[in-house]
Structure formats: C-alpha cells, structure tokens
C-alpha cells in the first residue's frame, strides 16, 4: 500500500445515533480511519453492525451525529443539503444491490444520468463519456439496450458504468453482488479489480466473507465499532477464480 498516495477519505470519531421513539440507537459509535487514493476496501460485518449507515455517511447522503468527515479534503459535516448533492454528483459513484436503473431507458441514457445534473457537460460530451464508461465495463456492444432487456450482471455493469461516468473520487458499493449468482458475482469482481488496477478508489460493503481476499484492505465492523482493519498482502485474482469455477455452477 503506497502510503504516500493522496488522502481521499478521513473519518474522525464518527458517531451516528437514531432516535426511535424513546430509545436512541447507536448505529456508529466512534469510527476513525483514512482511505487513500487507489485503495480497494471491503467493509464486512454482521447484519445491523452499521455498514450501510457508514456507507450513507461516506456517500454524503447522511450526516454524522458527531465527528468529522473529510472527502477529498473537504469537510462534509457542516454542508447543507444542496452542497452535499453537488458533492455527490462530482465526487461519488454509487453502486446499489438492486441496480436502480431507470426503467425502459437505454444503457447509454442510464449512464449519462449523473452528467445531466452537471451543467459543465454538453450533450455531446455527455454521450461521449457515457459510451466510454460502458466500453470500460465491457458493454460497448449494448449501448442501446433497454434496462429491461438485460441480465442482472449486465444491469450491474451499467450501474458501475454510471458510477464511473463522473470520474468520482471514490466508488461506493453496497452489496453490489448480493443479487447475483456466484459466476456473475465473480465477473463483477473481475471488473472491480480491473478498475482498481487502473487506480480507482473503491469501497465495497459485503456479507460475503470470500470477497475481502480480492481487495487490498478489509475493515470489519461490529456494533458500530471497527474491530479490525487489515491490509491484504496477497490479493487473489478474481479472473483466475472465475476460470476455475465449474461451468454449471448453480
């Protein structure tokens, strides 16, 4: 891990409480870590350990109850709603478990979407970027396919292309392979490893205990605490794992 790389994310004692009726749920109880450019970090933990809550804060969808969060050098905690929306548009790429593509809409149009909310891009530039992103995820031949004409794996690739299209500082994925079979999950992992190799910063929340082997670093959460934060010295190749999978896997 090149520790001289630029700091993308710095969390300082992040806490997040939810008030439910009379009770206070402590979803995050003091999280601190730093993620540098080019890291592929997995976050694992049991259900209810606070993974999604943490990811929402990292993605500027939510703000912590206390603690400081710097994204690409900018303090997010004091930002208003609109400023956070702009920040998400420029610095974050989201990948969701259920893809969240627009229905009846072509792959290119889906990928263009983030740039529609950025007036710096012209229609032609938008199209150009979207096509490039789709080529990068291996869907160069599916540009005009509508979302309902694609398989789950293809839809998740479109979603990843959409997360790439604005050249974000970090790609955040919550259970991005949760809805996919093993083979397709590995295909997506191959793609993420390729993006990692190209220098992209990726944070991947997962239940699957195998996946950390393919990432460069793993953070484990439990009850809103970080219980372990390890660097992976021997990153496995998802491509060779995919090649070794039996053909009729499931």
């Amino acid at each position: 891990m090149a520790s001289d790389m630029k700091e993308i994310i710095r969390l300082e004692d992040i806490r997040r409480n939810f008030i439910v009726g009379e009770e206070t749920v402590h979803a995050l109880r003091g999280i601190s870590f730093t993620i540098r450019e080019g890291e592929f970090v997995t976050i694992v933990g049991t259900s209810g350990s606070g993974k999604s809550t943490l990811l929402n804060i990292l993605g500027c969808l939510d703000t912590p109850t206390s603690g400081e969060y710097f994204l690409d050098g900018v303090s997010v905690r004091t930002m208003g709603k609109n400023a956070r929306a702009t920040l998400r548009n420029r610095k974050i790429g989201f990948v969701f478990q259920n893809y969240n593509l627009l229905p009846k809409t072509t792959a290119v149009e889906n990928v263009e979407l983030p740039l529609m909310y950025n007036s710096a891009y012209s229609a032609a530039q938008r199209r150009e970027k979207a096509v490039q992103a789709l080529i990068a995820v291996g869907l160069g031949d599916r540009l005009q396919h509508k979302s309902n004409q694609m398989s789950g794996g293809q839809m998740q690739r479109v979603a990843i292309a959409r997360a790439l299209v604005n050249d974000p500082a970090v790609i955040l994925a919550d259970e991005a392979t949760g809805n996919l079979d093993t083979r397709t999950s590995f295909e997506i992992l191959v793609l993420l490893q390729k993006l990692h190799a190209e220098g992209k910063t990726i944070i991947f929340v997962t239940h699957n205990p195998e996946i950390p082997q393919y990432a460069s670093r793993n953070i484990t959460l439990r009850d809103g605490h970080v219980t372990s934060d390890t660097t992976n010295a021997h990153i496995l190749s998802a491509a060779s794992a995919l090649a070794n999978l039996p053909i009729n896997d499931d």
Binding site: A85, T86, R88
Partner: protein, 406 residues
C-alpha cells in the same frame, strides 16, 4: 442544473408512460375545448345580436297595444284593439323627434305560385318601414303611398320566399303570387339579411300595403302595432315621451290610469339582450371551467401516483446529485407539459367544435383570441397549481429511504 436538461428528463419520463400521459391530458383537453366552444357560442350570439340591432336601426321604437304585463294573464297583443289609424296619423303629424312611422299588421299563411307553395308571413306596412328596419330593395321597386291609398294588391318579397316559389331562377318581379287565394303582384325583391342570432330567417317574409292586409286579409280596422324610428338614437327617450303623450290623449286615459299600450325601444331591447347573452356566456364558461378544474385534479391525482411509483427513481436521482429543486422542477415540468399539451389539443378541438356548431346548427360563433390565450394561461397555471404538491412531496423525499422503497 440547467433547464434544458430538466426539460429533457421530464419529456423522457412522460414518453415512458405515453398512455397514462394522454389519459391525464384528456381531462384538460375536454376542459379547454369546452371553455373555448362555450365562449365562442356566447360571444358569437352577443356579437350577432349587437350587429343585428345596429342593422335594424338602433333608434327603432315599437308600439304594441296592451299595457305592461304585471303578473297575471295578458291578452295577446293582436287581440287588443286599442291602436288605431288616427294614433298613427297623429304620431306622423304631431311629433318632432320621430323620423319615420309605419303601421304594422301581419298574417301568416301559405303562399302559392304555380305548383310551388310555402308557409310565410305577410307584413302590412307603409314604405317608411324600409327606413325603420333598414330593409333595401334589391330588384324592382318598393310599393308607393298610392298603393296604400288604393289598397293595391302588390308586394315586395324576401329572398327565402323567392327561393321557395321560384326555384327555377325566374325573375319574380311582375309575377302574380297568391296568399290565401288573394293574388298579389310582386313589385320588388328585398336584399337578403340572412339568419338572426335566434336562428330565425329574416328573409322569409312578404311586405304589402297595410291597408291591403287590414281590409282584404284580416278584415280589421285597428292596428296590431306601430313602428317608428327616432331622429337619432340619443333622441329615443324624447320620442317615446311624445308618442306616449299622444296615445294617452287619444285613448282618453286619466292621469292615474295605466298605459293601454307598450312602447319598447331598440336601445332597451339591446341592453336586455346583451345582459342575457352575457349571463349565458358566464354560465356556459363556468360550467366549462369546472371541467377544467376536474381535469386539473386528474393531473394532481396522476402526479401523486407517479411520485409514489417512482420513489426509487427519485432516490436514485438524488443520490447521483439531483437537488430537491431539480426534482421539484422535473415534476412541475411534467405536469405543465401534460396540461399545456392537453391545452393545445383542446384549443384545436374547441375551435373545431365551434366551427361545427356554426355549420350544423347555424349558431353564430366568435372565437375571441383572448379566450385562446386565456386557456393557455389557465392550463399552465393548472399544471403548476395541481402539480405543485406532488412535486413538493417528491422533492422532500429522503434519498436514503427513497432508494430502498419497494
């Protein structure tokens, strides 16, 4: 976020649900079309009444036997025998503000020429009547005072009578036609006036000397009415006063007695008719306006459904950088697009329906440019007004919850 992109996003969203968009539009289409049609009919009859009145002569004064009806039963004007020839002569001789005067008697019946016949009305009048009612002779001549003195069996006929009796296109002037077995020589043909605002044919009539109609058709000596015209419209009141004095004197009425005649001026009639048509216009437009409001509620309903249905889409848009106001604008543009497109189609249908009403029912219509403009403004306002709450609801969604919405 610029407007062009928001507009594109809204158009795309609508295109994804064309049928629903169209059904929502239907309410607006019907609303706008009916507003335009109703206003066209209302304004059309008002205009045509105003035109007719000025064509008829806005200084016309009509005298009928019998007092004002005050509840109860009144005898029909024809049965009252209070108006006499000497009343007529005194009005001619003793007034200063009256320009022209003509007695009026009439009879309806079948008119015959050769094998052709048709029902019509014969009006017994004097040549002054032409000036009072602004009739003109197109062919031949008007009959003369001499014909009146001799109760000559001559007549001037309207264009409809010409069409009914002389379908072959012969020249009617000089021909002899029969009304209730009585032969009349046609001396002239009137210039056509067309239909009036009540859909009545103003060319379906025969004018003959009043003496002839009195003696040879009706066998009466009294008059059924007297028509006059004031020197100028502004002298109408003075003329009415003079006439009233003469009639009260002739009829030997005490100062406490009520009039045994009724004088109506065109002025009075015109303001009455204008009020009536104005009221009709407002009523029709109100009914049509209600359907526009119903259409607007339809939009609101569909937009609410749409916001709920697209909660995840909204959550996604927010998570990739849409601000609340972008979402608000998107849904507002969608509802305004629906209402304005509906409005456009509605204008086309409304104009079409107005023209159809005019062509089929002979209703006069007038499509006022401002009514079209108004419909547009109202449509846009409807879209914004009824789209606002659903759009606001969408804009206020929490992206974290919205994106997990099932």
């Amino acid at each position: 976020m610029n407007f062009t992109n928001l507009f594109k996003i809204a158009v795309r969203a609508l295109a994804n649900n064309k049928l629903r968009g169209f059904l929502t539009m239907l309410g607006i289409i019907i609303g706008v079309a009916s507003v335009i049609t109703m206003l066209a009919i209302g304004q059309g009859s008002k205009r045509s009444i105003q035109r007719e009145i000025s064509e008829m002569g806005s200084n016309m004064i009509m005298i009928q036997p019998g007092g004002e009806m005050r509840g109860g039963v009144r005898q029909s004007a024809e049965d009252m025998q209070t108006l006499t020839l000497s009343d007529y002569e005194d009005i001619v001789n003793e007034t200063r503000y009256v320009a022209a005067t003509s007695p009026s008697v009439n009879s309806s019946g079948q008119i015959i020429y050769g094998a052709n016949n048709a029902p019509t009305t014969v009006y017994g009048i004097s040549p002054d009547y032409m000036q009072i009612r602004q009739y003109k002779v197109a062919e031949g001549d008007m009959f003369t005072e001499r014909d009146i003195l001799t109760a000559a069996k001559v007549c001037v006929i309207g264009q409809t009578v010409v069409d009914n009796l002389f379908p072959g296109g012969e020249n009617p002037v000089g021909k002899v036609i029969r009304f209730q077995k009585l032969p009349f020589r046609v001396v002239g043909v009137l210039q056509s006036k067309g239909y009036n605002s009540m859909g009545m044919d103003q060319d379906d009539l025969i004018l003959a000397p009043y003496t002839t109609v009195q003696k040879k058709i009706l066998a009466i000596t009294h008059l059924q009415g007297i028509n006059c015209s004031a020197l100028e419209e502004k002298y109408t009141d003075q003329a009415i006063e003079e006439i009233s004095e003469i009639l009260r004197r002739n009829h030997k009425l005490n100062p406490t007695d009520e009039d045994d005649f009724t004088i109506r001026s065109q002025q009075e009639l015109s303001s009455m008719l204008t009020t009536t048509t104005d009221m009709m216009t407002v009523l029709l437009a109100a009914v049509a306006g209600i359907s526009l409001v119903v259409g607007g509620i339809g939009i609101m309903n569909i937009m609410y459904v749409s916001v709920t249905e697209r909660t995840r889409e909204i959550g996604l848009r927010m998570s990739i950088g849409a601000k609340g106001r972008d979402i608000l604008a998107q849904f507002l543009i969608e509802s305004v697009l629906i209402s304005v497109t509906g409005g456009l189609i509605g204008v086309v249908f409304g104009v079409g329906a107005s023209l159809a009403v005019n062509a089929i029912a002979h209703f006069p219509i007038f499509i006022q440019p401002w009514s079209v403009l108004l419909s547009f403004v109202v449509c846009t306002a409807t879209g914004i007004f009824f789209g606002w709450y659903p759009a606001k609801k969408a804009a206020q969604l929490d992206p974290i919850e919205a994106i997990r919405y099932e």
